[in-house]
Symmetry: C2
Subunit: 198 residues, 2 copies
DNA sequence: CCGGTTCTGGTCCGAACGTTCCACAAACCG
DNA sequence: CGGTTTGTGGAACGTTCGGACCAGAACCGG
């Protein structure tokens, strides 16, 4: 009952995500959000309680698609464990390269947030922690699968190796923002895999 | 001639660096800078033209000590090439762990800036680019030394490998901010080295 | 077609922002 | 010791910030 919304909430969140992604939480004003979403301040505050709440929604939206895609790649049991990880790093490098190629890139929203907002916003930190755990879990099982099928070196501890790959992914993402081109990013991914080889 | 300054400029820059490091450019107000440096707004603006200029000075100060230390480790020709890189990653992991242990860490100022301010401030981007080139050069020579003395696998291209290590370093730094503890960070560093082994 | 409920556009708010300005304090030079 | 130069404290600038508010528009069930 009452007047219906003149916008699609998910669509608004996506638009907001792009702004936060590009400018960061501190660098984004409510005016920026109005401009990007097409919504008036009132509608924004009526729908999402505050700038921070909208940021959390935006971050969650990003995390969902990004980590879902990652888990999908890592759970593909038609491939050997190492091959899945190789495919994952290849996707990451490609994604970083593409993000970079179109305009002065904004890198990865999760990494950007980890290195800025997370330190001062507990709610953001908690969301990132949960996502990190999910990524670590998916990586751990892929490493275990790799050790079982003989593609991953038996000395590689699943937990430590999962962290290594998480770290490599962040590294590739930052390298993309540091000016590394596609071929460089792909070579980083290839080199990183060498550490896991059986 | 004229009244002398009541403060040490380098010391002020260091204080400013710590604030920018912790809160980022956007998150730092001129009031924060006054509080941290003990200087009045007037003295701040009289000495450094603007907030951005002070930020550049702060970043330069950080880069100098950080990259000098890195180059020193990498140029130690009493060790084999791979050993130098191992020592470097060990220092980075230790540094990340220490930064993390004292308060909710602020990670690495260079990484934080790369993932936020660099995209929108050309002067900052130029400074980071120059520093990255210096780090890449030092790494390249260490890799070359390692190939010559047989400690680094001959298939490892110096340029690509230098980028790989730069990327691993960023990754370790981000991992530190993602909640990885000392032992995890050290294990990441050890795993990363495995990719280079002869 | 009307009462109720929700959404929307615009305005307004106090606070904080980066920066400028000015009156005065403090030192050096002659 | 007077004049010049430079640094300092603090107030003030206009702007922008995140957020609150309200009058009216748009739709609902009856």
């Amino acid at each position: 009952m009452g007047r219906p919304r003149g916008f699609d909430e998910e669509q608004v969140v996506r638009a907001a995500r792009d702004v936060f992604w590009e400018k960061g939480f501190d660098g984004t004003s409510t005016a920026d959000l109005c401009a990007a979403t097409g919504l008036n301040r009132s509608s924004l505050y009526n729908t999402f309680r505050s700038k921070e709440h909208l940021f959390l929604r935006s971050l969650a939206a990003y995390i969902t698609v990004s980590t879902n895609s990652m888990v999908e790649t890592l759970d593909d049991d038609r491939r050997e464990g190492l091959d899945r990880i190789r495919a994952l790093l290849s996707e990451i490098a490609d994604d970083a390269a593409r993000t970079r190629e179109q305009g002065p890139g904004s890198g990865c929203f999760v990494v950007n947030t980890t290195t800025s907002t997370a330190a001062h916003d507990p709610a953001v930190a908690r969301m990132l922690d949960a996502d990190r755990d999910r990524r670590l879990a998916a990586l751990r099982t892929a490493v275990l699968a790799g050790r079982a099928d003989g593609s991953v070196h038996p000395d590689r501890d699943p937990e430590a190796t999962a962290w290594y790959i998480v770290s490599v992914i962040s590294g590739i993402r930052v390298a993309g923002q540091s000016g590394a081109g596609r071929t460089v990013l792909e070579s980083i991914a290839r080199t990183a895999i060498e550490a896991l080889r059986a």
